[in-house]
């Protein structure tokens, strides 16, 4: 922290149930080395107690404070004010896209959590499964005793940033596909139909915005491409074996 003080305007998205949305300006003095979440909390504490937003851990572990800061998805607890604005400027803060707004900056992320369960995404996994492209056959079983938390903190930034998720309500989304990929190679047979579908892997249009905004190094874009490679490879094998079977007949 420094002794320097900046005066900034937080332009915050406001919406209450059944009311039209609008932006409200809050003038605030900040230390530029504070985080955006700190500024939002100060607005709530000293200017408007009706402001609603989600937060918990303040150290990028819970994934609750994801918002759009000047149009870019950020975890506000680790986004320094200095990195996104300057003294005297206006900083726009909006809720994540592609999730229904509960109130102001808080969104309902139930669809993400439900889909993560559908693809059996795990929150804890052996450390050997950390390598994205390593197939199960090459996992070192002796390392299974060392477990780790999954990188994905289910913050939803990737789904907010994804252009395909914006236009398709039934698309699984980057975090969910990455969760499915983290189950290992080969793909869980019960998930193949879901993943190899219009609303699965093939809805992704390779914008890689998910990877760009991910605060936790999950690299959903790379995982989606890895799943695609697996699916294409499996489908080629099936085709080859079918063709071979017919030839043998």
């Amino acid at each position: 922290m420094s002794d320097i003080k900046w005066n900034i305007t937080l332009k915050i998205y406001r919406q209450k149930e059944n009311e039209p949305s609008h932006y409200q300006d809050f003038f605030i003095e900040v230390d530029p080395d504070e985080y955006v979440l700190d500024a939002i909390e100060r607005v709530w504490a000293f200017q408007d107690r009706t402001l609603v937003f989600r937060h918990a851990c303040h150290h990028s572990t819970c994934g609750a404070c994801g918002m759009r800061v000047d149009g870019v998805e950020k975890l506000t607890c680790i986004t320094s004010i200095r990195s996104v604005t300057k003294d005297g400027a206006t900083l726009k803060v909006e809720p994540l896209r592609n999730f229904p707004v509960v109130s102001d900056l808080a969104v309902n992320m139930g669809s993400l959590y439900a889909r993560m369960e559908t693809v059996k995404a795990r929150s804890i996994l052996p450390i050997t499964e950390a390598e994205i492209e390593t197939p199960k056959s090459e996992w070192n079983n002796t390392d299974d005793q060392y477990i780790r938390l999954s990188d994905c903190i289910e913050c939803g930034l990737c789904i907010s940033a994804c252009p395909s998720a914006a236009t398709s309500p039934t698309y699984l989304g980057p975090a969910v596909l990455a969760g499915a990929q983290a189950n290992g190679n080969p793909i869980d047979p019960s998930l193949v139909k879901l993943l190899d579908s219009e609303d699965g892997l093939w809805r992704c249009h390779s914008a890689f915005e998910c990877t760009a905004v991910c605060p936790s190094n999950v690299d959903p874009g790379r995982r989606i491409m890895n799943l695609r490679t697996q699916v294409i490879s499996d489908n080629f094998h099936k085709l080859f074996h079918k063709t071979q079977g017919k030839t043998d007949e």
Binding site: P20, S21, G71, A166, S168, A212, G221, M225, N226, T229
Partner: protein, 131 residues
């Protein structure tokens, strides 16, 4: 005041695809691919209209085609060439990443391919305006 928010996924959000604010390299490539695709599709219709002039006889067609020598029309044709080259090379990047090739270097792939596109477009520009 705006209307009640529509913060949920919907095909109606398709215009958001073209908003470059906050987009990074992959997102800009995504926008470029869509803009060039729309341009090429619209050109297809213009092309069919031009060919349709053949139905009005050789004079009508020749008269229409003589307009094609106007610098503005040549510039328009250059835009079509540029759109085709950029769309095609961007498509190469998507094919490569889909097959797991260079996924972690997709930004670099984009810059290299667009560099190639720029060189080819410049060559086309020189040849078209000097023809």
């Amino acid at each position: 005041m705006s209307k009640t928010n529509t913060n949920q996924p919907s095909p109606k959000n398709i215009l958001s695809w073209f908003n470059p604010i906050g987009k990074q390299t992959g997102g800009l490539a995504f926008i470029l691919n869509r803009v060039t695709a729309i341009g090429l599709t619209l050109y297809l219709y213009v092309h069919l209209i031009v060919l349709g002039q053949l139905a009005n006889g050789p004079e009508a067609y020749d008269g229409f085609v003589s307009l094609m020598n106007h610098p503005i029309i040549i510039f328009g044709e250059l835009l079509i060439v540029a759109a085709g080259i950029m769309h095609g090379l961007n498509g190469v990047r998507i094919i490569l990443t889909t097959f797991g090739i260079g996924v972690t270097h997709q930004k670099l792939q984009f810059y290299i391919l667009m560099g190639i596109a720029l060189i080819v477009i410049l060559i086309f520009a020189v040849r078209m305006f000097n023809a």
